[in-house]
Amino acid sequence: MLRFIPILTIVMMIGPVSAGLIGTLLPAFGILPALGGTSPSLDPWAALFAQPGLDQSIVLSLVNGLAATLISVVIVLLFCAAWQGTPVFRLMQRLLSPILSVPHATAAFGLAFLIAPSGWIARVIAQFAGWDRPVDIAIIQDPLGLAMVAGLVTKEIPFLFLMTLAALPQAETERTAQITATLGYGKITGWFKASLPRIYPQIRLPILAVLAYSTSVVDVAIILGPTTPAPLAVRILGWLSDPDLAYRFMASSAAVLQLLIVIAAMGIWMLGEKVLGITGRHWAEDGHRFKRDGGLRRTSAVLAVIAAGAVILGLVILLVWSIAGFWAFPDLLPRHFSFRLWVREFDMIGASLWTTLLIGVPAVLTAVALVLGCLENEVRIGHGPGRRAIWLIYVPLLVPQISFMFGLQVFFTLIGMERTLFAVVLAHLVFVLPYVFLSLSDPFRALDPRYGQTALCLGASPTRVFWQVRLPLLTRTVLTAMAVGMAVTVGQYLPTLLIGAGRFATVTTEAVALASGGDRRMIGIYGLLQMVLPFAGFACALLIPAILFRHRRGMSAQSKG
């Protein structure tokens, strides 16, 4: 039984992606019998290329995706190089982990409320500049998509930072830093010349996942991105939601085009890797030490703090807006506060939280069970999967959602499962599984194997060893993985919308739907609601082990590493 779990897990991730891609590819070439498309044709492509501003949409997606990824990677690497092993670094480590659980849409709304012409930053400046009304420039939804890039960067920094953090110990960066320092290298230069080459291979897949995401993002683009024209992924969603079903064919070819854009972005990135790899090798050997890097070090810290601060302040301003009464420009705070909207929305809030849980809990429990099964199987057969297996885990994160979600919808319709809770949970599982795996696998594999061997030699069966030794020892890890999984399912916008065909109103679909309306108080409420479940999850992951093992000093976070 156990040995079939890895196959089942892979099927749960790769199956929907493949079915979805096929279900997108066929209509893209005119084949979708349910809508009368029975013979292959290139008409969808002709219709697509006749769309006004298509080239602008393509450029927006490609350039902004690459820019957001590059900026995030540079800030994270600079910060790690400059501050590793210092108190500043540990502070950032503590700050960024909870920020990772903030859904993209929430962070984007928070940022919008900060930087908008009537946002908090403008209000602060207005105090000194004497403005009495908001400046008339488009800061959010700007035509170049700068606000969208900023929104993506604030959310990708914590993810890349934590992935880099996981790679640091294996590369022995602390000792390497000592060596480069004694050889007279500046902290940043020493790190880039000696540590980065060993770290980069391990953070490459996460970076590519960030690139794929940024190039095809929908929810953040709806909130912060330009509208005339919008990035391609947003327009595809528009076409898919059009009452005129004929648009579905064109939307499918656009989804295939989106996939090609992501592949092109990855190609450009890998080309950049190659060039930097070659020039970097010469640079590493040229002996320049750049000892005076204080300015750059401070800059990297400032950038990291701005990125983290934007998310945290964003949450604060969402809270303020959600309880704001009358709030005139340029007042820093509303004249009075009121819970009237919270009370009015009470039933709706409860309903959308319930729907979110209804999808999230089965998805998270299934994912954790499958991943634990895979890892336990590794222990029983005595070896892990090959190095290539990690690519399989990343497949759902490397293929743009919009490129296979519509096809998956077509597929579910074909087998009569459209709009069912089961189908939505399966769609969420595709994205929950990789994150739960990434979160669980390292600590599980790091557990001293002699605990298990000892228990076996004491006469315990492998099943008993799993339930009574390994699982209890990993309580904190498993709960944290569950919280990560919960944060992932709560944040899902497209899978809920497309596979559920609008039937499932989660906190995230509700929040993003509010974006066009511009009711800041309602956005404040639903933006915060998105935070409730992930936050509760992480609180449980901290509290439950603390209570369960309050008399077991050996189970505290410190001694478990």
């Binding site: 005595g382 070896h383 061997q453 076996l456 004491l458 069966s461 009574q468 000093r553 050996g554 189970m555």
Partner: protein, 215 residues
């Protein structure tokens, strides 16, 4: 402890190789109550030999020869069915269980009755000079106490052989002598054939039995 019908641990021409390189080759019989010390530098495959006897050695090792315990071949048996007890250099007490919980974990399920099981664990604690420690958190014990609980845990699982993998190397020198005699005395009293691997010559002297050098 009766030793009738017990012939001890027999390693019949056991050879362990990894990637074509032979790590260890032994031909050895250990009688009940006898302690045999295997000495050798690290990397000489001592721990692999113990892993093989336990049945926990990963599949990539090439193995030939036979392991017999009281005349019964162990090869192919699952680790939990072998009745082989092992102590590592770390005590590996389960940090999520109490001291008593750790001991009860090892007690065979055939010992029935809650009170009876508790009594057996308490007896074990008394014989380790640790009565009243049932509910203690293992993390609060001293190094010597932890070592003694670890040994009692192994003995409660009713092993037919005792393997020691450098069990004293992490104890400070004062404690080491004390724990050594505690372990060897109990092993002899229980009539257990005992195989110890170590790179500390003093361990071998203290064991007082045969001493075999691996190259």
């Amino acid at each position: 402890m009766p030793t009738k019908g017990k012939t001890g641990l027999e390693l019949r021409d056991v050879r362990i190789a990894l990637d074509g390189r032979e790590l260890v080759a032994v031909n050895l019989t250990i009688a009940p109550g006898e302690v045999v010390t295997l000495m050798g530098p690290s990397g000489s495959g001592k721990s692999s030999l113990l892993g093989h006897i336990c049945g926990t050695l990963p599949a990539q090792f090439d193995i030939s020869g036979q392991v017999l315990l009281d005349g019964v071949a162990l090869d192919g048996l699952a680790p939990q069915d072998r009745h082989v007890g092992i102590l590592f250099q770390d005590d590996l007490l389960f940090p999520h269980l109490s001291v008593g919980g750790n001991l009860a974990f090892a007690l065979p399920s055939g010992v029935k009755g809650k009170a009876n099981r508790r009594e057996q664990v308490e007896q074990a604690l008394i014989s380790a000079g640790m009565d009243g420690f049932y509910n203690r958190d293992p993390a609060t014990l001293s190094g010597g106490q932890r070592a003694r609980v670890a040994l009692m845990r192994v003995l409660l699982s009713e092993p037919c052989v005792l393997l020691l993998d450098e069990p004293f190397s992490k104890l400070d020198s004062e404690l080491r002598g004390q724990i050594r005699s505690f372990v060897f005395d109990l092993a002899r009293k229980n009539g257990l054939p005992t195989l110890m691997v170590t790179h500390d010559p003093e361990d071998g002297v203290a064991a007082g039995g045969r001493l075999i050098e691996l190259s």
